[in-house]
């Protein structure tokens, strides 16, 4: 069985001090670490601060910051379960009141953004503070298409980036996440993805979203969309399945009172023809597999979509919501092999991306479209609840 505590116990004991804030920094190049340490030194000057990282801190220009070494992990993106375990352990060792986790590329976050995340937990007493990034319209598309709408519809959370790689945690939230992450580590899945927003919602802990502006998001080590979509969506589906008892109860989404930075636009037209072509090819060849997963109405909708001209191509929001819900049910029922299931979702996702880029290209604000998609997921929640409970009722 894998051990959870990868912090060197000797070093931890020797350096354990009382700190108000523990900052866990994921493995990253030395220049990025140096930049983050500079931000921390500027913004948190004079405060009790401990940094836990697997990076080598020797030669840093900020020796006043205490650095705890933790064992390096293979995970590059996103923050892995074992990182949560390490961070929580270090926080407990140093009696920290709050934990700030920073993923790779966090040097692109401003010092004010780091302060905002910590302030939300320490002063506003939130349990989980997640950043609201301002990404270009052609970035973070899996989040806009699947992760955000599903999380919002099922867990009634407005958090725009549920899989954020930076976050601030209260101690009780950190303990909760550490406990969840520990289970993954015990199952020999140290690189598993942990979903903080759904954990917080299930535990009834408060969540705050902090506007952090633009950020350079690290890309997965494996750039193949097939692999990463399977990894992330599969993990999300598994999390949803494990929390079915929670989300099946009706929940009211709290109204949003704040506004966030506008998304930066992209100059130039978008070539969506390859994605539409990929969808059409899949429609011709994957009928047999989609027929096992999708309800007849969804298949009919896809048939209509397959003959739409690329210039006016757009996947209806309700159809997309039902497709994702159908795949979620098939994941639960193991209708087909889960690897095959995720593979069969890719052309449909590309069709959604093509439609989204078309909509954005026509002048509609990207956030307005994503909001419409999320609203469609919410309005179709009854569909997923019914299918979850009585899967065979929709097969005719």
């Amino acid at each position: 069985m894998a051990t959870a505590n990868t912090v060197s116990s000797d070093q931890a004991t020797a350096t354990a001090v009382r700190a108000d804030l523990l900052v866990f920094i994921a493995p990253m190049p030395p220049e990025q670490l140096e930049s983050i340490l500079g931000h921390l030194a500027t913004e948190f000057h004079g405060e009790e601060l401990v940094v836990a990282t697997a990076n080598d801190p020797t030669g840093t220009a900020h020796p006043e910051i205490r650095v705890l070494p933790v064992q390096a992990t293979n995970a590059v993106w996103p923050i892995a379960a074992v990182d949560f375990v390490n961070a929580v352990h270090a926080a407990k060792e140093n009696e920290a009141k709050a934990v700030l986790l920073l993923g790779p590329g966090a040097d692109s976050l401003s010092p004010a953004a780091l302060r905002g995340l910590v302030k939300s937990v320490v002063e506003a007493k939130s349990d989980l503070a997640v950043p609201h990034y301002s990404l270009p319209v052609n970035a973070g598309l899996v989040n806009s298409a699947i992760i955000f709408p599903l999380t919002r519809a099922l867990f009634a959370s407005r958090v725009r980036y549920p899989l954020s790689i930076d976050m601030a945690l209260s101690l009780r939230m950190a303990e909760r996440l550490g406990s969840t992450a520990q289970k993954f580590v015990n199952q020999n899945q140290p690189d598993a993805i942990v979903w903080p927003v759904s954990e917080a919602m299930v535990a009834g802990l408060s969540i705050d979203e902090v506007d952090v502006g633009t950020r350079e998001l690290p890309q997965p080590a494996e750039p193949n969309i097939n692999a990463i979509l399977s990894l992330v969506t599969g993990s999300l589906f598994a999390d949803i399945e494990a929390k079915a008892a929670f989300w099946q109860r009706p929940r009211r989404l709290l109204p949003e009172h704040r506004s966030f930075s506008a998304m930066p636009g992209v100059d130039g037209a978008v070539d969506i023809a390859p994605m539409v072509e990929a969808f059409r090819l899949a429609f011709t060849n994957l009928q047999e597999i989609w027929g096992l997963v999708l309800a007849p109405n969804s298949l009919l909708g896809l048939k209509r979509l397959s003959v739409v001209d690329p210039a006016t191509f757009r996947m209806p929001e309700t159809l997309w919501a039902r497709v994702v819900f159908d795949f979620l049910v098939a994941y639960r029922l193991r209708t087909i092999n889960r690897g095959h299931l995720m593979g069969a979702l890719i052309p449909l996702y590309l069709a959604w991306v093509a439609g989204h880029l078309n909509v954005v290209g026509s002048g509609t604000d990207a956030e307005v479209h994503v909001e419409a998609v999320a609203a469609a997921f919410e309005s179709e929640k009854q569909y997923i609840v019914s299918r979850w409970r009585w899967p065979d009722r929709f097969n005719s």
Binding site: G140, K183, L286, N337, G343, V353
Partner: protein, 274 residues
Amino acid sequence: MERLMGMMLQTVQNYNPPPPITNDSIPLWTHISDALRQSVYRVLSLFIAVLPGILAVFVALTLFTLIGMGLSLLLRRGLSFVKFDERLNRGNPEWSPSSSPTMLIARGAFWGCVLLGLVIGVSAFDASYSTGTPLPISLLPYLTKMVGALLVMIAGTVIARFLARSVLIGAVNAQLQYARFLSLGVKWLVLVLTAAMVLDHLEVGGKIVELAFGILFGGIVLTLALAVGLGSRDLVSRSLEGRAEPRPERVPPPPEVVTPKPVEPIRHETIRHF
């Protein structure tokens, strides 16, 4: 049943095989009658010899099925009583199979008993046949081999379907136009291999099966190689060119109409999914 078997045994014991035919004056119908009697004698002997074995199969199967049902019911109630599912889910929230752990254990116990009954029955039949029968016939030894062949066939079909789907989805996502053809090719390759294995296991066909399998398998592979090779000719030549010399950048076609600010299209690769 005992009475029936007793009567059969009495018939066989009372039966005296006819003496060998030495006289040419005996009419033809006597020869036919003798041949028929000998045949009936052989079949009845064989039937009596294997009957206990056949009965043993049914008795063992029925008995163990009943035991399995009882055990399954007992396990379901017992595990539900101790709230086994809740306890297990507390330690492992990522339980993903569609059935609950209790149901899986109960079903496992039931089918384990059925399988045990089948194994005991077949081995009893095998033992009674090999020791009891005075006459060999060619069909009965296949019974045990057929079980193995059936398992090979089921496994082959499942593997063929799995591989066909894997190839189909992978090829579609790689945007290969001949995805379905490739998938069908892989499926038939595995099915032909399975059929050859099944026939070989049953010792049917001998050399003919080996030869036919070799021809079919080679034919399918050659067809696939030709189809994929010809279909991907451009892809391969581009790949070879790319290795020989640096791949040229995509050159946009010369603009027919000069626009004040040309719009640079965002290629598919510039989309960031995360």
